[in-house]
Amino acid sequence: MYCNQPPEKPGNKKELLEKITNMARANSLWVTAYGTGCGSIELRPLGTSRFDMERFGIAMRPTPRQADVLIISGYLATKTLKRVIRVYEQIQDPKYIIALGSCTINGGMYFDSYNTLNVLDKYLPVDVYVMGCMPRPEAIIDGFSLLMQKIKDGRAHGWKHYKENLDYYRENQKKIITDWDLPDYNW
């Protein structure tokens, strides 16, 4: 009942309040615990003593409902894409995507594979790309700090873009997922 209506278009918020909230958002990024690819092996050292992402307020949340950030850690197989779309749409606004690895940018070494996406941007709005195969934990922290800066400046609106151009993204997604059985928009 609730999943078949198009999403509300986000409006403009009050300026000062939004600025303060953006500061809070940047300093409390909760990540969905979903290791979509091999890059997730470097997310584990990221939590331990040497890198310790909790210093920046970054924490892992087990459910997408409570998270802000979805990390696409590497290539996406078509079977995973379906789940990732579902997870991404269940995250509440505002939400951000960080994509790790060269394979999300342009396919990387899997450019001719029959089962992995080439350009992630066509299917999901990526806020920050971290290059490398695989990116070192320092690089991932750098990507996080870039995202923080974007949020503070109010420039991280991939989620708005996704809602406004939902038709474009849906068309691309349905091209790959031939047996589309998800709701039109699942919240």
Partner: protein, 374 residues
């Protein structure tokens, strides 16, 4: 046609465990039906990480496949390079210099130590003992530092090549390995006290996730899963490759059949790896580390078929390589140990298990999805 009692919708609950789930090892999922707290049926779903490696390898040159094979197993990539290089050496007859063999064994043992550290802590992590997981991964970082110095990368090393290794050990590398080993050895007893001497850990792992000894041959179980059930099978001992025949060691085996026995096997394998690394460092000969290869862009491997085996931290790893004498391999089939552990064995073990023990069992089998799906 009656309703299957295991999936009767009136009596059982249908649940997807993963792929977005913190308790699942990597990106895989288990679909299960449960009645109360007891699982009545489980189906493993894999394929979320399928990259079509075997197809891509048929489209690449022999040497171009080295960056691909190491990505088949994320926590322990060297085993793939070793296995693939062994298959090529078998087909072409390239001789590996003596020192290269020792270096390869050193790298394999370091990787095994790193994986076991992560798996040992991770077993505590699935039960809520986050401290053990954190410590295990921190100690693993020390080993990754060594890899970074030796190969230039933390995770994917691409260090082993046909006919040797990419470069010699840096100056004073042995001393730094020894330092790291001492550091790990000093801190392991603390981890032991936290995990193995913990009454609740024992309560959760003993007599849980039992692998019956007769399943070993029925399913073809390998590695710590088989050795935790009394098997003494270890490719390093039974069919020694590289220089394992020159090292002194006993196969680690436990007879508990349960998760605790598997954890103990991993723990003792760590000690074994440390002792093997020490032996390698003390006996390593001097000499060249690589054979000169022909022009790699026009390198034709003679036609033939070969199945090469290597013992990884999760068990026997096999590469079935077929060449038709052309520039590219005809077929490379990777047989990861998780294949039988995660699909048929897990489906069988979960029936009758408690819902709280799913990720516990899964981690004790150290299922690694990329090597199932490739």
């Amino acid at each position: 046609m009656g309703v299957n009692p295991a999936t009767d919708p009136k009596k059982t609950t249908h649940l997807f465990f993963g792929p977005q789930h913190p308790g699942v090892t990597g990106n895989m999922s288990v679909e299960m039906w449960f009645d109360g707290d007891q699982i009545t049926k489980a189906i493993t779903h894999v394929g979320y990480l399928h990259r079509g490696f075997e197809k891509l390898m048929e489209k690449r040159l022999w040497i171009q496949n080295f960056p691909l094979v190491c990505r088949i197993c994320v926590p322990e990539p060297d085993i793939n390079e070793e296995c693939y290089a062994m298959a090529i050496e078998e087909l072409t007859g390239i001789e590996v210099p003596e020192r290269a063999k020792w270096i390869r064994t050193l790298v394999l043992e370091l990787a095994r130590l790193a994986v076991n550290l992560m798996a040992f802590g991770g077993q505590g992590g699935t039960l809520g003992l986050g401290t053990a997981a954190m410590w295990g991964i921190t100690f693993r970082d020390f080993v990754l530092d060594l890899f970074e110095e030796l190969t230039g990368a933390r995770i994917y090393h691409i260090y082993i090549q046909p006919g040797g290794v990419r470069r010699d050990l840096p100056q004073g590398f042995g001393g730094r390995v020894e330092k790291v080993l001492e550091k790990i050895e000093k801190r392991l007893p603390e981890l032991d006290r936290l995990v193995l001497n913990n009454a609740i850990f024992k309560l959760r792992t003993q007599n849980v996730g039992v692998v019956k000894p007769e399943w070993i041959e029925e399913y073809g179980l390998v590695g710590p899963v088989a050795r935790g059930s009394g098997s003494v099978r270890d490719v390093r001992k039974d069919a020694p490759y590289e220089i394992y025949s020159k090292l002194e060691f006993d196969v680690v085996t436990e007879s508990g059949n349960d998760i605790f026995a598997r954890v103990m096997v991993r723990r003792r394998e760590m000690d074994l790896s440390i002792s093997l690394i020490r032996q390698i460092l003390s006996k390593m000969p001097q000499g060249p580390v690589a054979t000169k290869l022909p022009n790699l862009t026009e390198w034709r491997v003679p036609a033939g078929e070969v199945y090469s085996r290597v013992e990884s931290s999760r068990g026997e790893y096999g590469y079935y390589v077929v060449s038709d004498g052309s520039l590219k391999p005809r077929r490379v089939h990777v047989r990861g140990p998780s294949y039988v552990h995660a699909v048929p064995l897990l489906e069988r073990m979960l029936v009758g298990a408690n819902i709280a023990d799913v990720s516990n069992i899964m981690v004790s089998l150290t299922t690694c999805p990329p090597e199932i799906e490739r």
